[in-house]
């Protein structure tokens, strides 16, 4: 009986330590997207090149693609940009969604930093961003050949995220 009295608080303390350890290690900024596992939301956005044409999810089907929401005004986008350049050289198909941006600005930005995108669509008011659940660029979605969202990377794509989360999906989906 005496032992019970002392062990109960100790057990509660250990439990709390465990919960705090787990809970505080999580990043509250990473809100899991409810869209993972679902079809990519519909959109129709004007393309940067060629002008006058538009992009719809239909054009993305048939092969795995990365859909990268970026902007010329976005600092995190410059962080991930070299990696995206490298990936596009390796043959990874990346679609750029230019979020709340001006075509002239993004053109200049792509000239300066290089263009890793197969196509760039202009989401000027951010409506597609809303529908895709974007809350801060850069965000990158991995789409399977059937247009299903397989994964969402919040924040810049890091080499670790590429190796651990994204590449296996592309290889598996091919």
């Amino acid at each position: 009986m005496r032992y019970v009295r002392y062990t109960v608080p100790v057990v509660i303390l250990l439990l709390l330590i465990f919960l705090f350890y787990r809970g505080l290690a999580l990043d509250p900024r990473e809100v899991p997207s409810p869209l993972v596992g679902k079809a990519a939301p519909a959109f129709e956005l004007p393309l940067l090149e060629p002008e006058g044409q538009s992009l719809t999810p239909k054009a993305l089907g048939g092969r795995p693609v990365l859909v990268n929401f970026f902007a010329s005004w976005c600092a995190g986008c410059q962080v991930e940009h070299p990696l995206l350049m490298e990936l596009s050289k390796q043959g990874v198909e990346i679609i750029g969604m230019d979020y709340k941006d001006e075509p002239a600005d993004v053109r200049r930005w792509l000239q300066r930093h290089g263009n890793p995108y197969r196509q760039v669509a202009i989401d000027r008011v951010g409506q597609a961003g809303l529908d895709w659940g974007v809350y801060g660029v850069p965000e990158t979605y991995v789409l399977g050949p059937d247009g299903t969202i397989l994964f969402k990377q919040i924040g810049p794509v890091t080499p670790q995220a590429w190796e651990r989360d994204i590449r296996p999906l592309l290889v598996g989906a091919r």
């Binding site: 509250p28 899991p32 939301p41 809303l130 659940g133 809350y135």
Partner: protein, 151 residues
């Protein structure tokens, strides 16, 4: 066109005072009331611990605009909530619905209080040790010590 310009202007000035009324007058009073309640229930994902009513972030302004448009188009509160949770998940709801996953969230505090009351009751009911009378012999010495201290 006029609404577009108006929307763009309001977008630009979507600061504090404008935060709550993106397109003033477009809603009837009942819709307006629902709009206000809803934007106080939805979390801004950029600043996280603010509602979209409180936040000045761009995204919050966009979400307010969406809520506004949906209500103006005749959506019910639940439809608006679903619109947002479909895109951003249940995390955006400051009042998450009671489901198996959120049960701990809703019941947990009451369980903890009940547990506390139980423990308190048990401790109160426990027979106290028989009170021993204060040793009278030492009171005189104690007073002397205290007196010395005061001096």
């Amino acid at each position: 066109m006029r609404t577009l310009i108006l929307a763009a202007l309001l977008f630009v000035f979507a600061g504090g005072a404008f935060a709550l009324t993106p397109q003033e007058g477009a809603l009837d009073p009942e819709q307006e009331a629902r709009y206000r309640t809803l934007i106080h229930e939805l979390r801004c994902l950029v600043c996280q611990n603010q509602t979209i009513a409180d936040s000045n972030a761009d995204l919050a302004a966009d979400l307010r605009r969406e809520v506004h448009t949906h209500i103006a188009a005749g959506a019910t509160d639940d439809e608006v909530r679903r619109y947002v949770t479909d895109r951003y998940g249940e995390f955006v709801l400051y009042k998450p619905p009671m489901t198996a996953r959120t049960a701990v969230l809703w019941i947990g505090p009451f369980l903890l209080v009940a547990l506390g009351v139980l423990i308190a009751l048990r401790m109160l009911r426990r027979p106290r040790a028989v009170a021993t009378p204060a040793p009278t012999a030492d009171t005189e010495r104690l007073r002397r010590l205290l007196d010395e201290e005061e001096r």
